[in-house]
């Protein structure tokens, strides 16, 4: 059972392979769900740690180039959020190709 989610090549090599079955599609989707939920939990923990550090310690109380370190870290978290979101979207798009291939085959067979 392949978990390959890469899109078909220009030469169409993957088009000659049979469309994935539902079980393998669901396996890929479950794997994506696990990674999404793990990423969400990690981001939440990272963010709440930032809040605890800024409200209860002096660890982030310094200033760098005229701006508080807490701002720099806060802006870095914003940037990290965008990176995680972009990676997630790119990965999900690749999975869409596999799902679309399955759905097209499913429709061709008159649905299952």
């Amino acid at each position: 059972m392949s978990l390959d989610t890469s899109p078909p090549t220009a030469a169409g090599t993957r088009l000659t392979q049979p469309a994935p079955d539902l079980d393998s599609i669901l396996d890929i989707a479950r794997r994506r769900r696990r990674i999404s939920l793990t990423s969400a939990a990690a981001v939440l923990v990272l963010f709440m740690s930032y809040i605890v550090l800024t409200t209860s310690t002096t660890v982030l109380s310094g200033t760098v180039a005229g701006l508080g370190l807490a701002y720099w870290i806060g802006f870095s978290i914003f940037a990290a959020v965008l990176v995680v979101a972009q990676v997630y979207i790119r990965w999900a798009r690749r999975m869409d190709v596999t799902i679309d291939a399955y759905l097209a085959a499913d429709e061709k067979n008159g649905g299952r």
Binding site: L22, I25, L26, A29, R30, R32, R33, S36, L37, S39, A40, V43, L44, F47, M48, Y50, I51, V52, T54, T55, S56, T57, T58, L60, S61, G62, T63, A65, G66, L67, G68, L69, A70, Y71, G74, F75, I77, F78, A79, V81, L82, V84, A85, Q86, Y88, I89, A92, R93, D96, I99, L103, D106
Partner: protein
């Protein structure tokens, strides 16, 4: 003043024209509730960001930073995180399972009138709090900015909200929201440019001459630390339970479009909230914190004062006009989500047991908007003196402690059942509101009843109410595990639909 009124009237004119054109297409329940699922991902992303970037952000965060420095930034930090969590956890499954309302997504797994009714009531409670906040804030703002009586401002804004939503439905609400987001981003960019031209050109030159205490974080007391942590938890998780935000993911055609909408909104949030501190510090340097406090105790007029300082009465009038457009757009978004809960969930499914025709449902949805507006306006007139920040935090905490556990567990947990969902909704609502009733917001020297010490030390209950909501869902599910009628649709079917949309 005359210029401000002219710009406000011009913006309202454009929004009414949008409503006129949208009304021609607003002929079915599908178009009224979710714009037939035909909103493009970029437009929807702009509308999602518009739903959250309210006057509270634009005026409140800049004002708080202008007065107190870093502590105002706490109101901005959670927003991009909240929407990343929406993107990773709920956007796509919600689009795949839902139809018109949040309750539809849960009903895909657990049908039945009781749970749907409880979800609708929760939606209405959260939305009512949100609408009262917007009405009171808008009324006070219009009173201060344009010299109009509070009640007149509330009635005029309520009337406009009804017109947008009753005639234009979700389509008009979305277009008005997109227009407002564009205007708000434009105004923010212009203000940043002028601040940098005056004190920059580098953003760091804006903050460099200020004391380190103002531009950096400072440790707080234990209670204050727990309060901030609780508030941030409510803001980060509460968005996933906010009906008017979540319903936007039902206005696009499929899961990938929902995903893309979330990404567009994330980019807007991240840039917008990264820019706001520099505008706040610009106001601090231009006018001084004292002048900002003199104009408004929480600094809510800082951005208007800054606009006048940097661009004269023309820029001031533009900022006032855009602020009012912001408030109107958010009000319309909340109203349309509430009308869905009322007409689609309560009327059609709970009262009529699913047997109402589309025409009947559309008629009730439109009439409910009038009722919702009247109730919200009456509540707002009575809540003029309330602490709006407190109300907003409670709305988020209730959303995070009630709708959130039910939505997330319906999608992700095989062992979840109808009993657990009801326990989470009813118990979560009880815990959230109960903790507020015994908190410093109600009891003690800063509350409504003085002379009695608060029994719960935090002003925002999320730190307790969110785990309580999930715990109640778990215990309820264990209690109901032996009841076959509580199981609902086979989880394998729900999982497949949530994950791949089929």
């Amino acid at each position: 003043m005359a210029l401000s009124v002219f710009i406000v009237v011009a913006i309202i004119g454009v929004t009414l024209a949008i409503t006129y054109f949208a009304a021609k297409r607003n002929t079915s329940t599908e178009s009224h509730y979710v714009a037939e699922g035909q909103v493009g991902p970029i437009g929807n992303g702009l509308a999602i960001s518009g739903d959250y970037v309210s006057a509270a952000s634009f005026l409140g965060i800049t004002g708080m930073i202008g007065i107190a420095g870093f502590s105002g930034f706490y109101y901005a930090t959670a927003v991009p995180i909240a929407y990343l969590l929406v993107l990773l956890i709920i956007a796509e499954p919600l689009r795949n399972l839902g139809r018109f309302t949040l309750a539809d997504a849960v009903a895909a797994r657990f049908d039945g009138r009781g749970l749907r009714g409880a979800l609708a009531v929760t939606t209405i409670v959260i939305s009512a709090m949100y609408m009262v906040i917007q009405f009171v804030g808008a009324g006070l703002l219009v009173q201060m900015l344009l010299g109009i009586e509070f009640w007149v401002a509330v009635v005029v804004l309520g009337g406009l909200m009804v017109v947008y939503t009753m005639f234009g439905g979700m389509l008009a609400t979305t277009w008005v929201q997109v227009l407002k987001t564009g205007l708000l981003i434009g105004a923010t960019a212009l203000l940043l440019f002028l601040v940098l031209a005056k004190f920059g050109p580098s953003p760091l030159q804006v903050t460099e001459p200020l004391s380190g205490d103002l531009t950096s974080s400072q440790p707080q007391s234990t209670t204050r630390t727990l309060d901030v942590v609780s508030q941030q938890l409510a803001l980060a998780l509460g968005v996933m339970g906010l009906p008017h935000v979540m319903v936007r993911f039902l206005t696009v055609k499929d899961g990938p479009a929902a995903r893309k909408s979330g990404l567009v909104a994330l980019w807007i949030f991240s840039i917008f909230y990264m820019v706001l501190p520099f505008i706040g510090y610009g106001a601090m340097r231009a006018l001084g914190s004292g002048a900002l406090v003199d104009a408004h105790p929480q600094g809510n007029l800082a951005i208007v004062q800054l606009a006048e300082y940097l661009g004269g009465p023309v820029l001031e009038a533009i900022v006032i006009g855009i602020t009012l457009a912001t408030i109107l757009a958010v009000l319309a978004g909340v109203a349309i989500a509430t009308s869905g809960a009322f007409a689609h969930d309560l009327y059609t499914h709970v009262i009529k047991n699913g047997k109402a025709s589309n025409e009947q449902q559309l008629k009730v949805a439109r009439l409910s908007l009038l009722g919702i507006a009247i109730v919200a306006m009456v509540l707002a007139l009575g809540a003029k003196g309330f602490n709006l920040g407190f109300l907003a935090n409670v709305a988020f905490a209730v959303a995070a402690g009630t709708s959130l556990p039910v939505l997330v567990l319906s999608i992700y947990w095989r062992g979840f059942n109808r009993v657990g969902a009801v326990w989470a909704l009813v118990g979560g609502l009880g815990v959230s509101l109960g903790l507020v009733m015994i908190s410093p917001n109600v009891l003690g020297p800063t509350g409504l009843i003085t002379g009695v010490d608060p029994l719960f030390p935090l002003t925002i209950p999320a730190l307790v109410s969110v785990p309580a909501g999930f715990l109640l869902a778990y215990i309820g599910s264990r209690v109901g595990s032996s009841r076959p009628d509580a199981i609902g649709t086979d989880f394998a079917i729900i999982e497949r639909r949530a994950l791949i949309g089929r």
